[in-house]
């Protein structure tokens, strides 16, 4: 079995009196496609926010590649190889598609404190490679705000790939996409894992996507982890059936 790239120990998050995430222990294995599912308000996004440093944990620890990252701010976690997308697509409205992807590369390769050479001279090959991979090459010079919703989702994925992550956290990666876009995104995610050895941790509402690509599924319910295992195990878990899946899967 591959070693875990990311581990959480009893992580807990309270917002005032509300416990959004309750003592979650989770291992994400290197090279895995790992889904976090659960009904609305189960704490999926909060759990993501704790791992990426968007929120501080109330209790518990987060380990990445064997060392603790709990006290690190978000940007340092990203520098180490943890990159995320947001549930509400987060892109650069007034930068072109090309410039947006370039930003990820400049940030990751520590070129952002370069003051005089033109930014356009950097990483041309790498940017075009990513644009072609995600299928946005023909819109390279269009502003981020002007492309379709599905393309914005893809653009955000492309931006995150510029940071050359080791683990990519995708918050609802196919939300709002057409069936065709969803299909091609799934194929692309699978390719990232197979070709680049990336680890993917994602949340998703669409159960066909989850059971279509996830190799491991963890189920959150009211902030607590109620199941964790292969798609088969999760599908057959009585508790999951009771609280969440109902008749869906």
């Amino acid at each position: 079995m591959a070693e875990p790239i990311l581990q959480t120990f009893n992580i807990t998050k309270d917002f005032g009196k509300l416990r959004a995430v309750n003592q979650v222990n989770l291992d994400v294995k290197k090279g895995d496609i790992h889904a976090i599912i659960g009904p609305n308000g189960a704490g999926k996004s909060t759990f993501f926010n704790l791992i990426t440093g968007y929120h501080k944990v109330t209790e518990g620890k987060v380990f990445y590649k064997g060392s603790e990252i709990t006290p690190l701010p978000a940007y340092q976690r990203c520098q180490r190889g943890i990159t995320r997308s947001f549930q509400i697509t987060s892109i650069y409205p007034k930068l072109t598609v090309y410039e947006s992807v370039l930003m990820g590369l400049l940030a990751h390769r520590r070129k952002t404190l370069t003051f005089f050479p033109s930014a356009k001279k950097f990483f041309k090959e790498e940017v075009w490679k990513i644009l072609e991979d995600v299928g946005l090459a023909n819109q390279a010079n269009v502003l981020g705000e002007s492309i379709s919703h599905g393309d914005k989702k893809r653009l955000e994925l492309a931006i995150t790939l510029g940071t050359e992550p080791e683990i990519l956290l995708l918050d609802e990666p196919t939300c709002g996409m057409s069936p065709e876009e969803t299909e091609s995104t799934m194929i692309f995610i699978r390719r990232l894992v197979n070709e680049k050895g990336l680890t993917i941790l994602f949340t998703e509402h669409d159960m066909s996507v989850v059971f279509g690509i996830a190799r491991r599924i963890s189920v959150l319910h009211q902030g607590t982890l109620i199941a964790d295992g292969t798609p088969e195990q999760v599908r057959n878990s009585e508790e999951v059936q009771r609280v969440y899946l109902g008749g869906v899967a």
Binding site: T52, Y54, P73, A74, Y75, Q76, C78, Q79, T83, R84, F86, S90, I91, Y92, P93, K94, L95, E99, S100, L102, M103, G104, L106, A107, H108, K111, T112, L113, T114, F115, F116, P117, S118, A119, K120, F122, G144, E156, I159, T160, G162, T163
Partner: protein, 323 residues
């Protein structure tokens, strides 16, 4: 072929530079003085716009750095008989240092809070200079700040200002197009996304803040020996408002927008003062019209129109090819 397209694209710039170089032979001393003021204030406005147009934060205390640059030069030259050139360097140094301290606090805030805190710091520095009569001359300011003999004529100093203005503009142009400039724009567009690419937002904002303070300080430092004096009014929030208006007038999202804005403001000001003191009413009206009629500023509007025209031409070409 390549040379010709370069010339076509940059011809206006060459014309402009030639125009500036021959201006002292063509126009009156009065207008050379106005040109000097317009260039210095344009540099001030460019420094402001690094924060406003590129980083997306409105600084309402930029005049503090302009004034500090000027005061450093005036005090060093009159009280300590310091060398002119060293005084300029010291003026930039002082503005940068204070920029570092003020910026340390301001970059933690965003939007209106950033604006108000820069305003507060700006007024604080103004009050210190205004009240500390024994040291700064208080409301009397400092007079008799003379440049070296070879720069005493208006024409000679004009060329110095032009050189500093042109060089600073070039440096700032390179800066906003560099990876650092790209990062500022990314932070303006979406600071959360940028932070989650591994960028320490506050650190980059602080660097930009210090650079902006340094160029504002340079503008003040170069102006004072030309004007032969400095006064506390250089640091007031009214002075801080001038680059804000210039940026909005010319267009904050076009690099030279604030420069155009400042040239228009300076020349209209000089012209109107000839027959009325109600200059703010005229300026206010102009700003009002710009905001309602050309919301992106003059150059912003022109750029958009150019782009529309080019898009239509492209479409026609595509149409012709496929037809």
């Amino acid at each position: 072929m390549k040379n010709r397209s370069w010339l076509k694209k940059n011809g206006w710039l060459i014309l402009l530079i030639v125009g500036f170089l021959i201006a002292p032979f063509v126009i009156s001393k009065f207008y050379i003085t106005i040109l000097c003021e317009a260039m210095v204030m344009s540099l001030f406005a460019l420094s402001f716009n690094l924060l406003f147009g590129y980083m997306g934060q409105l600084s309402f205390g930029q005049a503090a750095f302009y004034g500090l640059g000027g005061y450093a030069v005036a005090m060093l030259m009159t009280k300590l008989q310091f060398n002119f050139w060293l005084s300029l360097v010291a003026g930039v140094g002082l503005a940068s240092l204070v920029g570092l301290i003020v910026g340390y606090f301001c970059v933690r805030l965003r939007g209106i809070y950033f604006a108000v805190l820069t305003l507060a710091f700006g007024q604080l520095i103004f009050v210190i200079i205004f009240k500390w009569h024994d040291f700064t001359g208080g409301d009397d300011g400092i007079q008799g700040v003379f440049p070296p003999e070879y720069l005493k004529s208006i024409e000679a100093y004009y060329y110095l200002i032009f050189f500093v203005f042109a060089l600073s503009t070039l440096v700032l142009w390179r800066l906003v197009n560099s990876p650092f400039g790209q990062t500022l724009k990314a932070m303006r567009e979406n600071s959360e996304r940028t932070e989650f690419l591994g960028i320490h937002i506050a650190r980059y904002q602080l660097i930009a803040f210090v650079i902006a303070a340094a160029f504002a300080g340079l503008a003040g430092a170069i102006w004072v020996p030309f004007y032969r004096s400095v006064a506390p009014s250089y640091l007031t929030w009214i002075k801080s408002g001038e680059p804000v208006m210039a940026a909005i007038l010319g267009g904050p999202n076009v690099f030279l927008g604030p420069v155009l804005g400042m040239f228009i403001m300076t020349f209209i000001h000089a012209y109107i003062l000839g027959f009325t003191h109600f200059w703010p009413i005229i300026m206010g009206t102009i700003i009002l019209i710009i905001i309602f009629v050309l919301p992106g500023g003059i150059l912003g509007f022109a750029k958009e129109k150019l782009k529309e025209k080019r898009d239509i031409q492209n479409q026609e070409q595509v149409g012709r090819r496929s037809g």
